[in-house]
């Protein structure tokens, strides 16, 4: 089974084994997972902070598009690229809203 492309109705969030925190020694955000440390760029941090506990992908895109008065299509492409990459590495939990959907 390969991972399907993310749908706007999917609920996305950080899985329980991944933690986002600010590292005061390095003065930057870090994403911590078993035996891995990622240093997300500022844009990625904005996205990760807005995932909250877990949230529907469409809502995350809406919120960012409104907050930054940016075209939704641009935001959508950036958010999807970043989250897909995280999902492929096992850093994101994705739940389809309806299991029978598409």
């Amino acid at each position: 089974m390969s991972l399907a492309a993310l749908a706007e109705t999917d609920t996305v969030g950080l899985p329980p084994w991944v933690r986002l925190r600010f590292d005061r020694v390095r003065d930057r955000w870090v994403l911590l997972a078993p035996e891995r440390v990622l240093f997300p760029c500022p844009t990625s941090v904005l996205i990760l902070e807005r995932l909250g506990d877990r949230r529907r992908l469409g809502e995350v895109i809406d919120a960012l598009a409104e907050e930054f008065s940016a075209p939704r299509a641009t935001i959508s492409a950036d958010v999807r690229r970043m989250l897909q990459d995280l999902a492929d590495q096992g850093f994101l939990s994705v739940e389809a809203r309806e299991t029978m959907h598409g």
Binding site: M1, S2, P15, P34
Partner: protein
């Protein structure tokens, strides 16, 4: 070898922060794996760091920039104060990872560890079948306990990685080990071929896979990675003896990780004590910051200035730093030599021949790791260039 055989080492303090701390809480362990990664000479339980001392080490580590703490051993759950150590680490914001054989755990203790703030559990399996697993670990009934503990890890809501150490005597169970990880609800499996340092070197002929076994295992891992993408992360470590290039041991000497032994000695890797002439400072006598930034044992192989040829002029020197110092010492007698895992090493051909010969001969019996046993002398393992 005297100190004179070692490089002078870097002089300026190393200001890059470490990422991880491997906390070897104890060398006690109920298992007797023939590839045990603890040093040949184990440290006594009566000299182990106290709870308060470990908490102070964690404070110093966090201030130095450590982000993750791996609670390991021996068997870390043999310490009754594990919950207190986890709680302290988590209170500092450290990512806490328990590396365990599982046989001393139950659901109640796992619940307590979760409540203390544990982030993640890595549970080792020695095979997929109980008879294989119990024979390799030298612990009857161990496999059944591990399966129960794996379920309990998930039942209390903790994330699980299955650690599968593989070699010629369990590689035919690799697919089933991946299946076991899925069945237990693990989100990750680490498939690591045995690396031949310390105790594993004593058992090399009993553990070395054939080239064909290695290729079959790699194909299984690659297929599983494709098929399970997004469901199971698979980390894979291949054996040096069949490699063309060495691994960047610990990501480079003194670059990423601090290893603290049960008695508080601080080393750049868990096998570094095998290198004669190095003195490892203790957290009982020195601040962790000084040990990391300035102590001679950390400075000695840092960076690339000390590298001999052919490493010095190699384009990969910033990638692998000449490979593993402990392996270079064990196989060539010189800790500064190019790791024989590299095909540019004059010893590489001999390494390849050892792997070919040992992996195709009938396996000798295991020399089990028994806690009270004198460390046996390592037979002739030096290669001829």
């Amino acid at each position: 070898m005297a100190d004179a055989g070692l490089p002078l080492g870097r002089r300026d303090p190393w200001t890059e922060p470490p990422m991880g701390l491997l906390a070897e809480l104890t060398h006690r362990c109920p298992l007797q794996c023939p590839y045990c990664s603890n040093p040949l000479e184990l440290e006594r339980a009566s000299d182990e760091l106290s709870t308060a001392e470990w908490c102070r080490v964690l404070d110093e580590a966090e201030a130095l920039g450590v982000l993750q703490v791996h609670l390991s051993g021996g068997e870390p759950t043999a310490r009754q104060d594990l919950e207190a150590i986890v709680a302290h680490a988590r209170g500092l914001g450290l990512y806490t990872n328990l590396i365990t054989a599982g046989v001393l755990l139950d659901e109640r203790r796992l619940q307590a560890l979760r409540e203390a703030g544990l982030d993640h559990v890595q549970l080792s399996f020695q095979g997929a079948k109980p008879e294989t697993s119990d024979r390799i670990g030298g612990y009857r009934g161990g496999h059944a306990k591990k399966v129960a503990v794996g379920r309990a890890v998930r039942a209390v809501g903790l994330p699980l990685t299955v650690n599968a150490v593989v070699h010629r005597q369990n590689l035919d169970e690799l697919e089933d080990m991946i299946g076991l990880a899925l069945e237990l609800g693990a989100h990750r499996i680490e498939v690591a071929h045995v690396q031949y340092y310390g105790w594993a070197l004593l058992n090399r002929a009993a553990l070395m896979p054939t080239r064909e076994q290695l290729e079959a295992a790699t194909a299984i891992v690659e297929r599983a990675r494709r098929e399970l993408r997004g469901r199971l992360v698979i980390d894979y470590v291949i054996p040096d003896y069949w490699a063309k290039r060495p691994k960047p041991c610990m990501g480079g000497w003194g670059s990423n990780v601090l290893n603290v032994t049960p008695q508080g000695k601080v080393m750049p890797c868990h096998a570094a004590a095998s290198i004669p002439g190095l003195t490892f400072a203790s957290v009982r006598e020195h601040p962790l910051r000084w040990i990391w930034q300035e102590s001679p044992a950390f400075q000695v192989f840092r960076g690339t200035d000390w590298l001999p040829e052919p490493c010095r002029s190699c384009e990969r020197k910033e990638i692998d730093f000449g490979g593993c110092r402990c392996q270079a010492l064990a196989l060539t007698g010189d800790p500064t030599a190019t790791d024989p895992a590299c095909e540019l090493s004059p010893f590489h051909r001999a390494l390849f021949e050892v792997a070919s010969a040992e992996s195709t001969a009938p396996p000798p019996p295991f020399v089990y790791r028994r806690p009270m046993r004198e460390a046996p002398a390592l037979g002739p393992v030096r290669l001829q260039a």
